[in-house]
């Protein structure tokens, strides 16, 4: 177990109670809370060291550039990229995926080509591909889900053809928590020369990720889901793949030479970072990564598995509760979706909220998936470094209260 009280103490938000009730935050899959060191860096940077990057000759600007690029380096090491050039800063996972769908998609996908996604995708890794397929008259194929809530690998093998240009799949579902064995999926795609994008929005904050070992072409994730600030997304791309792609946005910072009627473009990573970037938040994100590394991803994963196991035990005791999680905890991250017979998720969340327990309800930006499970909406608890068994006990008490009320 992690030293929970010591970790919780480092997140200022947990010192604020609501009507004397402590905050039980069970919605980290949506976005996590921030440790003090991340908040402090933001404040400190604006107060003492702020200037634009890549522009000024003066000290402040050079220092800003240095700190911004240092964060890029730290991120590249965190996912074991070959070089920092392979890390592009965007606004969030969604923007990273759109960048690829436009830049790579527009220049590589043609009529009758095929794009493969999975039934587990978040809207942000589904809708950009639907649109690309429409623009290019390409075909969108979907890897089905098995009854045990894992992806059907055998069907995937059959979906791949010589026409498959890109496979875009999540490494962990934000609804069922299913962990996808992505290395197996990458190997298969390679046989057809298809590019492969991994949506790591849920996996990178919780599981050790090594892009060289995975051998994916792209990996995308968001800082705000891993203790970092909002407004920072990461796009990792293999250098050769990114080199072959045209820019996504045009303007300042991404050019090498500009003439009146023609321009040439900067090298990686600047080629994909037009305009003044989100400097302060990128710099603060580095602190979040250091915080995670200090605890250790192996420890985080172990901790979340024990929370998941505990929550499953506690919640499955109620016959009204139906869990939507892979049977084996081995195949799932720290996410537990469920329904309660006779209580609509919105009503349940309202009752939990009275006890200062935050859970997510609704379709979780994955409407096709939730509907395929036969539900109109789900409740979801998700865990991170600051959660403990006590949080789950409090949530269980709220559940008991709701069941009594709606009896």
């Amino acid at each position: 177990m992690l030293n929970q009280s010591k970790i919780k103490n480092q997140f200022p938000i947990f010192s604020h109670k609501k009507d004397g009730k402590p905050l039980v935050f069970l919605d980290s899959a949506s976005s996590t809370q921030k440790p003090k060191i991340v908040i402090d860096v933001l404040k400190n940077y604006y107060e003492t060291s702020y200037a634009n990057v890549h522009r000024g000759i003066y000290d402040l600007s050079e220092k800003s550039t240095e700190a911004y690029e240092k964060s890029r380096k730290t991120i590249s090491k965190f996912i074991n990229a070959k070089s920092a050039k392979e890390i592009i800063f965007t606004r969030n996972t969604t923007e990273s995926i759109n960048l690829i769908a436009y830049s790579f998609g527009n220049s590589n996908i043609n009529k009758n080509d095929e794009i493969i996604v999975s039934a587990l995708e978040h809207h942000s890794n589904l809708v950009p591909w639907q649109e690309l397929a429409k623009r290019k008259h390409a075909k969108l194929k979907i890897i089905p889900l098995k009854k045990d809530l894992t992806l059907d690998f055998e069907s995937y093998k059959k979906l791949l053809t010589k026409k498959t240009k890109i496979v875009a799949i999540t490494a962990m579902s934000n609804v069922t928590g299913t962990i996808v064995p992505i290395e197996k999926f990458v190997k298969e795609a390679r046989k057809y020369n298809a590019k492969i994008l991994i949506d790591g929005a849920q996996s990178v904050p919780h599981l050790k990720t090594d892009v060289q070992k995975i051998d994916c072409d792209f990996l995308v994730f968001s800082a705000h889901k891993m203790l970092g600030p909002t407004g920072v997304g990461i796009l990792y791309g293999k250098e050769a793949t990114l080199d072959d792609m045209p820019p996504f946005l045009y303007g300042g910072d991404m050019i090498s030479e500009v003439k009146q009627f023609n321009s040439s473009y900067a090298e990686l990573p600047n080629k994909f970072e037009a305009g003044t970037p989100n400097i302060a938040d990128v710099i603060a994100f580095e602190k979040a990564i250091e915080f995670i590394e200090e605890i250790g991803l192996e420890n985080i994963e172990k901790h979340e598995k024990s929370l998941l196991k505990y929550a499953k035990e506690k919640f499955s005791k109620y016959p009204e509760v139906k869990l939507y999680t892979p049977k084996d905890c081995k195949n799932a991250g720290g996410i537990l979706s469920f329904t309660v017979k006779g209580i609509h998720p919105h009503d349940l969340a309202t009752i939990f909220n009275e006890d200062n327990v935050c859970i997510r309800t609704g379709q979780h930006c994955a409407a096709p998936l939730v509907e395929s499970l036969g539900e109109i909406a789900l409740n979801r608890m998700s865990f991170y470094v600051y959660n403990d068994f006590n949080d789950i006990d409090i949530a269980k008490k709220s559940l008991k209260k709701a069941l009594k009320l709606f009896k």
């Binding site: 609509h344 998720p345 919105h346 009503d347 309202t350 309800t361 409407a367 109109i376 009320l405 709606f406």
Partner: protein, 127 residues
């Protein structure tokens, strides 16, 4: 617990005027895209443009279901003009609870649905 008063829970568990009508004057279905709630309403309107019968098929949370149930009771015998004049305030008063901003959509879904139905009827008649 303010939101889930006895009245709300009672109407949620046993909605009034539940079910479809035979030969309704209008039928309309509405979805709340945020939570996936669905509501179908059948209306029978008499020659004096008053609501004669109402049938609701709710599939949603306690707030939207109770709102539909209470509203269905309130609307029988009302003229279409009177219904058009109903506002958010009337709905909150009818529910008798405090609605936080996140749940206003749920509370309003039934009235919004009925107003939409009446508008459709008007448009159809103009054609």
């Amino acid at each position: 617990m303010d939101l889930f008063s006895e009245t709300i829970l009672d109407h949620y568990k046993h909605p009034s005027n539940k079910g479809s009508l035979k030969n309704p004057t209008i039928t309309i279905s509405e979805v709340n895209p945020l939570c996936g709630d669905k509501l179908k309403i059948d209306l029978k309107i008499d020659s004096k443009n008053r609501i004669k019968e109402i049938g609701i098929t709710p599939q949603g949370c306690a707030i939207s279901t109770a709102s539909a149930s209470l509203l269905s009771e309130k609307l029988i015998g009302k003229s279409l003009k009177e219904i058009e004049a109903l506002t958010e305030k009337d709905i909150f008063k009818m529910l008798g609870i405090e609605i936080n901003p996140g749940r206003i959509k749920c509370a309003m879904l039934p009235l919004v649905t009925i107003k939409k139905a009446l508008l459709m009827k008007e448009l159809k008649e103009k054609k």
